[in-house]
Amino acid sequence: MTFDPVAYAASALAGPLLLVLAAFGCLLLPLFFKALRGTQGMIALGAVLVVLIFFRQAPPAQLSFFSGALNLSPLSSYLWAFAMGVLALFFALSLAKPPAPEGSEGEYYFLAFMATTGLLVMMAAGDLFTAFIALELLSLPVYALAGIRRSKPGIEAAYKYFMLGAFGSGMTVMGIAVLNALYPSLDFVALKAAAPAGQLALAGFLLVISGFAFKTALVPFHMWVPDAYEGAPTQVSAFMGAAVKAGGVVLLWRVFSLFDGGPIREIFWWLTVITAVFANLAALAQNGLKRLLAYSSIAHAGYIAVAFFGGQRGWEAVLYYLPVYAMATIGAFGVVLILEKDEKGPKIDDLAGLAKTRPWLAAAMAAFMFSLAGVPPLAGFFAKFYAFAGAVAGGYTSLVVIAVIMSAVSIYYYLRVTVVMYMKVPANGGDHPVEAPGLAEAVVFLMAAGVLLAGLFSRPLLALAAEASRWF
């Protein structure tokens, strides 16, 4: 059978198009058909499953569309499948415990679909400007999602996220303007081939990197993360941790790979170190579970950045890291969702006695914590191992030494969660909800199985990641 790029593109691009269609479907259909009101979640989940059908096998080569703005390759297929998986889990959690107030379900799912469309475009973007547009398409809906409940913490979250995010976008667009003046094309391939320009280009790249680092939450561009994760509906926090961060990582990596050395690498080196050190130290002082997970997400951005220094092997490791991290973090937020009684989520101490009242839930949470801490045999250990292996082989041993020392620090705060669950007697008799939405539990246990097995049996996922990484 011969490969027809046009037919392939038609079916591959049908995925994102369907997402847009589903977005408007969720928003508008219930307005006209009363019977559909309140069923937007089901429509959304169904639509995601339909979209997954269009994610057929990856193309055998890189295909460029829209004069290089969009590149489809096994890499984009891998990332898209990852994004759709996260979206499906996000919808499952949203269905289990509706976060949006009565009457706003349409907007909620509309925004989620639009954000994911942005994410997909971002992951396949072939030039800096497309990437920026996609970034905005991703960010704006997520600002709104963070504040969808219109409550005080939600609005605070959305406001902080929006202000800082807009600042980051401003920096990016400023940087792109500078680069546009200096380079004939903003295409990533052309940028890489172009002779390195002087100070002005460096300034332009730094502005772009700062903006992307906001999304990935590298220190010192992380200030929005704890408040946004804490105040946003828990499902949205999970989406931010898993999906938005992945988008940021892909963009940062595109920019990073333009340079083989020089000041940009040095700056990345320092960003990585500061992120790993600061996030882990700050996490030690957290009492809220959602804030803890927020700082943990910053720390993991640091570990992912370590993998950047590993060349080809590093890309492979990043592609393995993203789903593994997403599983642990979505699972942990799922547990938060099951236990939360108010918007800010439970304090760590509220988990006391969970091992008695909900033993399996506690076991799943312990698995997520050990995975995030990188203790074998959980998948998080394998992810860290791969991430650091490339960097060591590339000669960045000192970076890895700092990262492993900081992950030893992180043990303390992850263990604290298990200590509270298993070894502390609850102050209030442990009034954990006995009944939990089945769908949320299903997500949590699916993720727990994932972090238990994806490490010991990492060969298939690693092989996919390796294949995808070749197309970068």
Partner: protein, 514 residues
């Protein structure tokens, strides 16, 4: 399929499988839970006996090897195999496990299912560490073992269990993370030199590493192992963990986990980085001797029996370290034997303290006295174990200590001389404790009604007693099996690898590369 037919691999997988299967038993059915765990651990012991019977004592190569590709893109294989040292360690593990299970029957009353599952997972981790011949697999088991041990201390431990569990986990993990970086570095250096990714330990022996690189790598590996041994001054987690852990946890901690540190030096740190090892060896031996004297002195001043036994472990492991760091055949064999001896004697001591604690709920020496009158059987067993622990001729402790002291005297005369003082001190505090607990008048009325050892307790103490005597009078079958391994260790430690060509040196930092 070889995963299940190879007895080594089977003895690793079986406990883990049993640990998962135990969740099929209803949590209230305590009898079935105990019986199932005991059966699984006994079965594992029987499988490990197959290792003993099929082991060729004269062969220098690793035996029962299994080499299956696992993560080919990194050259990581599920590579197992044993020599004489790992054989003894595995047998010690599989022997102590059913004993620990039996000793837990009446002590553990809550959450039994999770408790026995933790014990079984722990066994998988322990055997895995001793069987692994791939650095990655080794590290995996080494760290994975922390999780069940952490829960054993933290959930079923004494009053300060949370502090002890956290300290145990964080100390060990903090010591080990640099080893992870070092493992990656070794593999990367090998890849740079040969173009092949491999984590196979035998393949990495004799790798071309500069002296400076060896120095840092040995430091990283050595730190991880020093925490585990524990060498003075990295020992502070040990008294807390030992005292707070339930009896079975203390037995396994002292009997097996501490040996992993020594085993790490024997299998990895010294043979992989022989030139650096020569530099470090006198210091490590010196720390071992400081541990002997310091551990003995601190043990002497203890009122809590469990704490005393815990500190005596620091002293005993100090002797072992002195032995393996002298690179003398007699001393290294003695040290290996002493590892087994310590597992048996200290394991038995913790069991005996557990027997008393279950009856009186106190471990203070002052709360006892005159037990010979009410518990004659206990007093007799306690006597034999105490004498074995202080190295009385005719019991197991003697041979090991003498071999270590004789062997190391030729290399470190002053250190060996100081170590003798520690051996004498151990007699002082152990016999002192024995006298206060067993002899004298029955001062406390509560002690008058204490029951002597029951059948179950005899059942788990007798195998240990038998081995204590057997190793004392006839250690040759054990020593014979360790000899090829010991010789390999000494040969590897003496080798002088050729300096690597300049082109394959990996810089220590990004700036220096290329």
């Amino acid at each position: 399929m070889e995963l299940l037919t190879n007895p080594l691999s089977l003895s690793i997988l079986l406990p883990a499988a049993a640990g998962l299967a135990i969740f099929a038993i209803p949590r209230e059915n305590s009898g079935a839970l105990k019986g199932f765990t005991l059966a699984a651990s006994l079965l594992t012991f029987l499988i490990s006996l197959r290792l003993w019977s099929g082991f060729d004592p004269g062969a220098a190569a690793f035996q029962f090897t299994l080499d299956q590709s696992w993560l080919p893109s990194y050259g990581i294989n599920y590579f197992l195999g044993i020599d004489g040292v790992s054989l003894l360690m595995i047998l010690l593990t599989t022997l102590l496990m059913p004993i620990s299970v039996l000793a837990s029957f009446s002590y553990i009353k809550e959450n039994q299912r999770a408790y026995y599952a933790c014990l079984l997972f722990l066994e998988t981790g322990m055997i895995g560490v001793f069987a692994a011949l791939d650095l990655f697999v080794f590290y995996l088991f080494w760290e994975a073992m922390l999780i069940p041990m952490y829960f054993l201390i933290g959930i079923w431990g004494g009053p300060r269990r949370i502090y002890a569990a956290l300290k145990f986990f964080i100390y060990t993990m903090a010591g080990s993370v640099l080893m992870l970086a070092a493992i990656l570095w070794v593999a990367a250096a090998q890849h740079a030199a040969t173009g092949v990714w491999t984590f196979s330990i035998p393949a990495l022996y004799g790798g071309a590493l500069t002296l400076q690189a060896q120095f840092w790598l040995f430091a990283a590996f050595g730190l991880a192992f020093a925490v585990k041994v524990p060498l003075f001054p990295f020992h502070t987690w040990l008294p807390d963990a030992h005292v707070e852990a339930p009896t079975a946890g203390s037995v396994l901690l002292a009997g097996v986990l501490l040996k992993m540190g020594v085993y790490g030096y024997l299998r990895l740190a010294v043979p992989l980085f022989p030139q650096a090892a020569v530099t470090f060896a006198p210091w490590l031996a010196g720390l071992g001797v400081i541990g002997i004297i310091y551990g003995s002195l601190v043990a002497w001043s203890q009122h809590d029996m469990k704490k005393m036994v815990a500190y005596s472990s620091v002293a005993h492991l100090g002797i072992v370290m002195l032995g393996i760091m002298s690179f003398e055949p007699a001393a290294v064999s003695g040290a290996v034997l002493q590892m087994v001896n310590h597992g048996l004697s200290t394991g038995a001591l913790f069991l005996l303290v557990g027997v008393l604690y279950e009856r009186r709920h106190t471990r203070m020496i002052e709360d006892y006295g005159g037990l010979a009158k009410v518990m004659p059987g206990f007093a007799a067993v306690f006597m034999i174990v105490t004498l074995s622990s202080i190295g009385l001729p005719g019991l197991n402790g003697f041979i090991g200590e003498v071999l270590v002291l004789f062997g190391s005297f030729r290399v470190y005369p002053w250190l060996a001389g100081a170590a003798v003082a520690g051996v004498i001190l151990s007699a002082v505090y152990m016999l002192g404790m024995y006298q206060q607990v067993v002899f004298g008048p029955l001062r406390h009325t509560e002690n008058k009604i204490l029951q002597d050892l029951n059948l179950r307790e005899w059942l788990y103490l007798l195998p240990l007693l038998a081995l204590i005597v057997l190793l004392g009078v006839w250690p040759n079958p054990f020593l014979k099996r360790t000899l090829p391994a010991v010789n390999n260790y000494i040969t590897l430690s003496k080798q002088q690898p050729a300096p690597p060509p300049a082109s394959v040196r990996i810089a220590l930092d990004g700036e220096e590369s290329k």
